[in-house]
């Protein structure tokens, strides 16, 4: 439901703060733990949630999310089970927007129209497909339109003013600004360099702008929260999963406490340094 995303951003605007958006990989490290994490995210401070669905060949991901996808696939995660997890989440939470993020091929296998319908039924509100630029996204955009799901686009440092209108056409909910040229979780985002781009994307789209790729710490999240409408953290969270698994610690507790720290930093960002 697009309205869920719009209502959430409107409420945050009224509060005068940015959204905190954690990214978690469905089925990482296993379906039950991942669902427990998902269900715990709103109470830990998530304003919106990005749920990655695993793909064997994620070409824009750095090592942390590559490994998260491999853990999930090794544990038997599928796209069908991803939708089931979101449906289970929705029984307890009717307000927190859920954005599904991943790659094209599993959708091709499912069938685009059928997938959009099934995703809507599960309670998905938006979709980000990393390897589906506007040039190839027409059929998915039609299918999502028909099912009231937002197609959320990525704008990047290489998206110049000439291309930006192409990128934001048919998009809704928000625009995701990729703060660095690179894969996820490697380079660090610099808030002062990002700010003018956020403004540029806001002007071109008339939509809130989320910033992600390369935000790992509460300090960095706080800095980005002062210039963007939402802050996305992914690699740093899936790294917590990896470490907790390695150390045989409580995975859910560890991820949610990291989410709490990041969410707090984002909430307090516009009240001054944390």
């Amino acid at each position: 439901m697009r309205a869920r995303i719009e209502q959430r951003f409107a409420a945050l605007k009224a509060e005068g703060r940015a959204a905190f958006v954690p990214y978690v990989m469905a089925g990482d490290p296993d379906a039950a733990t991942a669902l427990a994490i998902l269900k715990g995210l709103p109470a830990a401070g998530a304003d919106l949630i990005e749920v990655g669905f695993p793909f064997s060949d994620p070409m824009a991901e750095g090592p942390p999310i590559q490994r998260a996808a491999q853990r999930a696939l090794a544990a038997g995660m599928t796209l069908k089970a991803t939708l089931e997890a979101i449906a289970a989440f929705r029984t307890a939470d009717a307000d927190t927007p859920v954005i599904l993020m991943g790659y094209t091929n599993p959708l091709v296998t499912w069938g685009i129209e059928a997938f959009a319908r099934d995703a809507a039924a599960a309670g998905v509100d938006g979709m980000i497909i990393v390897d589906l630029p506007p040039e190839e996204a027409g059929p998915l955009a039609d299918a999502l339109d028909a099912n009231d799901i937002s197609l959320i686009r990525l704008a990047t440092p290489t998206t110049d003013d000439r291309r930006l209108p192409v990128v934001v056409r048919r998009t809704s909910g928000f625009v995701y600004y990729v703060s660095v040229a690179g894969v996820t979780g490697v380079k660090e985002a610099d808030a002062s360099a990002v700010a003018p781009h956020v403004e540029r994307v806001r002007r071109a789209s008339g939509l809130p702008v989320a910033v992600g790729f390369g935000i790992k710490t509460p300090e960095r999240a706080s800095a980005i929260a002062r210039v963007a409408d939402a802050v996305v953290v992914g690699s740093a969270l899936v790294d917590e999963v990896a470490e907790a698994v390695d150390l045989n610690e409580d995975v859910t507790g560890r991820v949610l406490s990291k989410v709490e720290a990041l969410a707090k930093a984002v909430r307090l960002a516009r009240r001054g340094p944390v």
Binding site: M59, L79, N105, V108, D131, R153, T158, V183
Partner: protein, 411 residues
């Protein structure tokens, strides 16, 4: 994205009119890449569009192909192989005699000239068997550009001589351990490098796959093979061949051979995919014969994948054919029925390797040996008065250790 299985629209009037402006061969091809790369892909499309009609660019390329690569490569009548099978006359297109020992150099020479024309100062590439890596390292050495080659850690291990060759040529070989640590993962890693180094880096893809314009561009650079075959066959026999045959992994040597014959419907086009341990074992690399359409590495094409759309590992004795996809133009030629795709197993290809070595005194690349494995049946089908051409895409010295291991010997 289009429907994964395209409507059977019948044969087009002009096969050479593809890809269309969107980079499509029917339902196949396209530009499925992250937004960061889209502006770069558009720049490349524009630069290639200008270069391919620029006589200065084409003249410079022709000069290097003649004096550095050693073109034209001979079209050789393999009389003992012909006699052995007792069918059509078998000609071998001797791409293995090119500088660096395979057809890969044709494409590398074209793309390096384009990269320099675009002002790029750093070259990256992926490689499987190492033939494309060696060819890329070679042209980078020739023109003084730094070169990074991504190669699956598994392939680094089984193709050590080529790794050393690349090092000698000044290239840095980066072993890739992610995923299945083979060619598809090397390509993922090269794409990740390109996404990260967007300003100075040129990605020199080695096969006629990936996002538009690569399938078209690589095909056009390799089409010199088929153009020469047409001329050489007219000179030798006064007519076109009845069939042309090539091994297919990504499919660059095959599409280079096929393309100048696409509109000559009397010329059968036959590709041979790697059947690995056998099509019924599930351990193979035959995307068309054992896969279904999907999206990987920027294009819609036939892929080896599971029921959920996860890409499956390919299996072949030949590192150069060990890829779960195939170039989109082959997918289209298969669907419209213009080309036929057969398979050959590891064992059949080893036999063919030894057969050609003994009968003609030519060690073929284990990749090319897959085509040789089917040439007897093809020659008999075509019949005694017929003419067939097999693309001998690479030389087999690199494979002697692999072949020896299968014979229970060490070298």
């Amino acid at each position: 994205m289009n429907a994964p299985v395209p409507p059977h629209s019948g044969r087009p009037n002009d096969y050479t009119a593809y890809p269309d402006a969107q980079g499509r061969f029917g339902a196949f091809g396209g530009q499925y890449v992250p937004e960061t790369l889209m502006p770069l892909v558009h720049d490349l499309t524009a630069a290639w569009g200008a270069a391919k009609v620029d006589p200065a660019f084409l003249g410079e390329l022709q000069g290097y192909l003649t004096h550095y690569v050693g073109r034209p490569s001979p079209l050789y009548f393999a009389s003992r192989l012909t006699e052995h099978f007792g069918g059509a006359k078998i000609y071998l297109k001797r791409e293995e005699l090119n500088h660096t020992g395979s057809h890969k150099i044709n494409n590398c020479m074209g793309q390096i000239l384009l990269a320099m024309r675009m002002g790029k100062t750093r070259i990256i590439a992926e490689t499987g068997a190492g033939q494309h890596g060696v060819a890329t390292a070679t042209v980078c050495a020739r023109f003084g550009l730094p070169c990074v080659v991504y190669m699956g850690a598994v392939d680094v291990e089984r193709q050590k001589p080529n790794v050393f060759r690349m090092n000698l040529l000044g290239a840095e070989v980066r072993p890739v351990t992610s995923g299945s640590a083979t060619l598809k993962d090397a390509m993922n890693e090269a794409l990740r490098d390109w996404v990260t180094n967007v300003h100075d880096t040129y990605y020199l893809i080695g096969t006629a796959a990936g996002m538009h314009p690569y399938p078209e561009m690589v095909r056009d650079f390799q089409a010199v093979i088929g153009r020469e075959v047409r001329e050489q066959m007219m000179a030798a026999e006064g007519r076109l061949p009845d069939a042309v045959v090539a091994c297919v992994g990504g499919g660059s040597n095959a599409i280079g051979l096929f393309h100048p014959f696409l509109n000559d419907e009397g010329v059968k086009l036959i590709g041979v995919e790697a059947a690995g341990s056998g099509m019924d074992t599930g351990r193979h690399a035959a995307a068309i014969n054992g896969g279904r359409p999907g999206v990987l590495h920027g294009n819609m094409t036939y892929l080896l994948q599971d029921k959920d759309g996860q890409i499956e590992e390919a299996h072949s004795i030949s590192a150069g054919l060990d890829y779960p996809g195939i170039g989109p133009e082959h997918s289209w030629l298969h669907d419209v029925g213009r080309a036929t795709y057969l398979t050959a197993t590891d064992a059949e290809s080893l036999d063919a390797y030894m057969l050609l070595s003994k009968l003609e005194g030519i060690l073929p690349a284990i990749e090319s040996a897959h085509a040789i494995a089917r040439i007897g049946e093809i020659a008999r089908d075509v019949g005694k008065d017929g003419l067939v051409v097999l693309n001998l895409s690479g030389r087999g010295d690199k494979d002697v250790a692999t072949v020896a291991a299968h014979l229970g010997r060490t070298v």
